[in-house]
């Protein structure tokens, strides 16, 4: 019994330690990010590459999913709401779901699956091949050179991708609407703008930025946690994905609650 309690206590202490370690790591990234902007370092090219891989290359899949989501919402909404004579509610539902909820979270999930895993794998392999040690040995701060560009790149890419997602989801789905229930473009556009609020867009941007921070921090944190063996890499990647999903959902709930408070 005493042994069990002791084991539980040790487990809790370890958990607390790891949480504080992760928080310390996060603040280290924030500090280095400020320096990164000040110094205009060589890592700027890494940042560009990160935005290219995370943002530009994910644009096609984001566009496709946004278009599909917008179309599904319109098809379902038109079918259901017209039965109650409340067809105009479709615009409210469309802006609420696409802009405030699905836009940021779906984009985040896609980025976790694409870039989160890639970052964790890349950093894990760098640890295994002692590249990180080599950076440290030559006086280069790995957080400054490797982590911060990825942190900034993922966070900014997620914001831009969410903007694209919203744009395509809201306005691109107009063409899908034409197939089901032809609506005058200006009527559709004005109805959408009448219900779209500044707060909706702001919430969407804030959410996507927070998700970007979470995804990049979690992916880099787990990538650097690899110790010696390449077999650790896939395990670490799975952990990065799982933690990324959970933290993004929790953050989404908190931000949504804050929006309504």
């Amino acid at each position: 019994m005493i042994k069990m309690l002791g084991g539980l206590g040790r487990w809790l202490i370890l958990k607390f330690k790891s949480v504080f370690y992760a928080l310390g790591y996060f603040f280290q990234i924030l500090k280095e990010t400020l320096f990164f902007i000040q110094r205009k370092q060589v890592g700027f090219k890494v940042l560009i590459m990160q935005i290219y891989f995370t943002g530009v290359k994910a644009l096609s899949i984001i566009t496709f999913i946004a278009l599909a989501m917008g179309a599904i919402i319109i098809i379902q909404g038109v079918t259901v709401f017209n039965q109650f004579g409340q067809g105009n509610l479709i615009y409210v539902i469309l802006t609420t779901i696409i802009t405030r909820e699905l836009g940021p979270i779906l984009t985040a999930f896609i980025i976790i699956a694409r870039s989160g895993t890639a970052i964790a794998t890349e950093l894990g392999n760098m640890v295994v091949t002692h590249e990180i040690e080599a950076y440290v040995a030559t006086g280069i701060n790995p957080v400054s050179y490797l982590i911060v560009p990825r942190f900034l790149g993922v966070s900014l890419s997620l914001v831009f991708l969410t903007i694209y997602f919203n744009f395509v989801g809201l306005f691109g789905s107009y063409f899908i609407t034409q197939l089901i229930k032809p609506v005058d473009f200006f009527t559709y556009f004005n109805s959408l703008l009448a219900v779209l609020k500044f707060e909706d867009i702001l919430t969407s941007v804030i959410k996507s930025f927070v998700f970007g921070i979470i995804i990049s921090t979690v992916a880099t944190y787990h990538g650097l946690k690899v110790k010696v063996a390449s077999t650790e890499v896939p395990q670490i990647v799975i952990k990065a994905v799982g933690h990324g999903f959970i933290l993004c959902i929790v953050a989404n709930v908190i931000i949504t609650l804050l929006y309504y408070i």
Partner: protein, 354 residues
């Protein structure tokens, strides 16, 4: 495909610029559509209830949005709801006239709430607009009187639901006033009349009369009570009798309803009985028709028969006179040959000797 870093930089730049341009465009369109860049004129008003009101709710005139509700607060001292709202610059000059009224119409069937603006009457559009921050009365707190006096232009809604929403408010208000007047004016007098029996007022007299009528009715009912009980008892006995007859397994009803009984057997004969009855009825009908003809004939012949009988009677009288004259005449006395009577051969069986 491996891309040059400069080309990747261009792609990333385009990606970022397009996203920024997109969001800027959305903000511009939103601003134009939601009038972020136009001046709004703020006013105050007061409502009896804040039910259905919410910040950002549109204020409409003839179905067009002319402003929005910006603030709602409850004044705990007077227990009324204070609201702040604004009217868009485009409409301010022409609709914010003195004696304007704002009206909240709550749907009684849950179809939402609408806030309507009724501009003050200004036929030639010469009156200056209200100063910003002015108080505009609500319909139920003074606005109705302005509309009744023709100082405010209140536009009726075209759709039936809208008209319903608009009209239900005043009806509810009138009902409330009626209930209020009943509660404050009539009910105390009724209470007084009931408790003290005061007949000085008309209501008191009516209440007293009603009390008298009620007492009298109660007495009548009490008197009739025994009789009613007797009648009910008799009905109960009769009903019981019927029930017994109905329940008797050998009773008439059971026999009649028995599918193997004689009635069923008689009736189930391929309509032979029915046809016979029908034929008999037709014959009876013919006989009755003949009787009717005969009766009519007799009726027609009655004067003639009466005449014959009268003539016969007169003939008998004359014959009697002749016989009497012959009897009294001495010349003819004994002159008539005596006749021998021939007995009748007709006899009934009863005349025979046994």
């Amino acid at each position: 495909m491996k891309l040059k870093i400069s080309f990747i930089e261009q792609l990333v730049g385009l990606f970022i610029i397009l996203a920024i341009l997109g969001i800027v465009a959305i903000f511009i369109f939103l601003g134009v559509n939601q009038r972020w860049f136009t001046k709004s004129y703020y006013f105050k008003s007061r409502f009896l209830s804040g039910n259905g009101l919410e910040v950002g709710m549109p204020i409409t005139l003839k179905g067009f949005e002319v402003g929005k509700l910006s603030k709602i607060t409850l004044d705990p001292l007077v227990r009324l709801v204070d609201v702040d709202f604004y009217i868009y610059e485009d409409f301010y000059e022409n609709i914010c006239k003195p004696n304007s009224v704002i009206e909240i119409a709550v749907s009684p069937i849950g179809l939402g709430t609408s806030l309507m603006f009724h501009p003050g009457h200004d036929e030639d559009n010469k009156l200056p607009p209200l100063a910003e921050g002015s108080f505009i009365v609500s319909y139920r707190l003074g606005g109705r009187e302005l509309i009744d006096q023709g100082l405010t232009d209140r536009y009726a809604t075209d759709d039936s639901i809208g008209a319903l929403i608009t009209n239900v408010g005043p009806i509810i208000q009138e009902v409330e006033q009626l209930l209020y007047s009943i509660n404050t004016g009539i009910m105390p007098e009724v209470q007084k009349a009931i408790t003290t029996g005061d007949r000085t007022t008309k209501i008191g007299a009516i209440v007293s009369d009603i009390q008298g009528i009620t007492t009298h009715t109660n007495n009548l009912i009490a008197e009739l009570d025994d009789e009613i009980k007797k009648v009910v008892k008799d009905i109960s006995v009769i009903t019981g009798g019927f029930a017994k007859v109905a329940e008797d397994p050998k009773g008439i009803i059971t026999t009649l309803l028995d599918p193997k009984g004689s009635i069923k057997t008689i009736l189930d004969d391929n309509n032979v009985l029915y046809k016979n009855i029908e034929v008999s009825l037709i014959k009876i009908k013919n006989i009755i028709s003949e009787l009717e003809s005969f009766a009519r004939f007799i009726t027609n012949m009655t004067p003639q028969i009466t005449g014959i009988l009268e003539q016969g009677r007169q003939a008998l009288d004359q014959g009697q006179d002749v016989l009497e004259a012959l009897k009294n005449n001495p010349l003819l006395r004994g002159g008539i040959t005596e006749k021998r009577e021939q007995p009748t051969t007709f006899q009934s069986y009863r005349d025979e000797d046994f």
